[in-house]
Amino acid sequence: MRRTDNSAPTPPDRTLADVPLEEEVVLVRMDVAGDDVESLLERGIVPGCKLCPIRHAPAGGPTVYRVDGALVALRKETAACLCVRSALEAAGVLASN
């Protein structure tokens, strides 16, 4: 389900699950179903926020992200629903708007 339309010409988006450790990205779209998205939103994980994966838990467990100076762990399945763009690239897009 497409929740937030991003009408700017979109370069191929990645999901948060594909981002390598230590790369800062900006969240652009959330494809989480139904009301579940609220548990992310209320912690400040909303389009426009910066996320940076900093650690994978052992044995394919969740990944720990830095969000607004706090640490939040998300499952791969959840991260795969979040479309992101690299922070540098996003800054460029914003500037050209």
Partner: protein, 648 residues
Amino acid sequence: MNGGTPSATLVVDPAEGNGAAQGRAPLVALVGPPNSGKSTLFNHLTGLRQRVANYPGVTVERRSGQVSLPTGPVEVIDLPGVHGLSPRSLDQMVTRDVLLGEQEGARQPDAVVLVLDATQLNSHLMVAEPVLGLGLPALVVLTMADELDRREGALRVSRLSGELGVEVALVNARDRATLEPVHRFLKALHTGGEEVRACPIVVAADHVEGHGAGRPLPMIDLFAARRERARALGRSAGFQAPRLSRSTQRLDALVLHRLWGPLIFAGVVALVFQAIFAWAVPLMDGTEAAIAASGDLVRTVLPESWFRSLLIDGVWAGVGSVVVFLPQILILFLFIAVLEDSGYMARAAVIADRLMHRVGLQGKSFLPLLSAYACAVPAIMSARTVEDERDRIATIFVAPFMTCSARLPVYALLIAAFIPAQPMLGPFFGQRAAVLVGLYALGLVAAIGTAAILKGTLLKGRPVPFVMELPPYRLPSVRSVGARLLDRAKVFVRRVGKVILTVTVVLWVLTQLPVTPDGETPPISDSALGRVGHVIEPVIEPLGFDWRIGIGLVTSLAAREVIVGTLGTIYGIENQDSQDFELQAALQRDLDLGAAVALLIFFVFALQCMSTVAVMRRETGGWRWPILQFTYMLLLAYVGAWAANAIL
């Protein structure tokens, strides 16, 4: 949300004296995101000992306490942490209902203290909007001033106060000396000081949000806008986010490491078990000696009579045999408290998430399950934080399989009687500790297996996203760890005093009846108790148990450790002529290895705890789940014990 009337109505006419004259003290609610320090603040204000730990979702109930001020009393309530006022779990529902005055039998608070973590100001300010938007007089307390400072963050309190239009205080909730502004605010509720203001600005913003656009905004946009406003507030308050804590980074690198992480986990577990067995011994010996000495003293002081028999052979033997285990239980709680207060538990939940995912639960369920190692009752309540109702039921259904501290006396007694104290993996891990680990593991396997079955059948549902906040590691405070131990010791003593003492006295009376024609007490197996035991015996004979164990199993329905007291009493009376009888030795005589293992396995599985049944009924709103749970666990216990006895 209502349009806020900046209320000064609760201010009392000074001529009338303080709030008590009005009939009731002002009611103040502590509100804020999880783990922001509400309960820490509450404890300092009220002097109570509400549980505090370093992971989100510790408080799941409303708890109220009184603050006595020179100006009069104020009633303060501690609430579960929330990120907003749209509840998605039962604990959040509690907070919402209290704030809106919709909780049965409770009035709406007169003011709120909004507690936010200063190190996460940007995201925590998001909750300010809905909460301050209620229009109640408010104080904003920013906690973790010490950490903000240490990690080189910055913030201008007066500017934030100017932006929000209410008082703002930056405090260290663990340090009473910094809490003066909070007291000032509470006093102002009586005196009508200017500190008592409702926030005007945010109310307006919220108003526009709801109606201005003509239609409700989609949730994502609504939150994105709210976050933008929160950040703008932070910016104008000169907020500089602190860097991540270096020690947390370093510890996480170890604790969440691919190899070290699981090893550390195993090491911690081994350490706990070894401590319970090896290191508790001197303490237990001391307790045992004290009980024996006091018993002897009473024996010499009192003349021979039925009363002395009740006291020595009944109460001292029964209650004493349970009290011996207090040191072990306290050691277990010491470890749990330190782990919870340090921040390790949240990491353990992350490590366990894969496993939980495989059985269809979420990592969040792991925290209640971990706390069930202490006691299933608070664990079942803390599962309120699990958002999905089916997940919550599955979690509380399996929670009693986790080895609670009430099983510890039973395990310890039987292990000490039947397993030799030999080292296994070096001096730090002995055979007895290994068997204990095995029993804990068996309970865990049962819990996980049952959860998998439930989530595959009765409670099938789609997976919900797992979002787990990892707080920075914090040095456990002596105060909260000490409070935890003290409370636990009290609970233990109270249980021993009430349940075990009552059972012991009743048992003793049953062993004295019926009086034989020549006025003697009957031999125990002919007594009323013995007869009851013999009625039960056929049912438990296949498990290798005799009638004494049968009586113990019946009384342990009240609480598990009662079986130890019961056996203490029965053997105490049987051996009243010998000066010092040993419960362990008596068990070695009457049980073979197969029966001992069967008994252990029975206790791993069976739900012998009326408090658990009662809290299950309350938390599920009916008898269906508790009855199903009790029957299921009893069947598993019986079959497991039978198999063990048959094989060994």
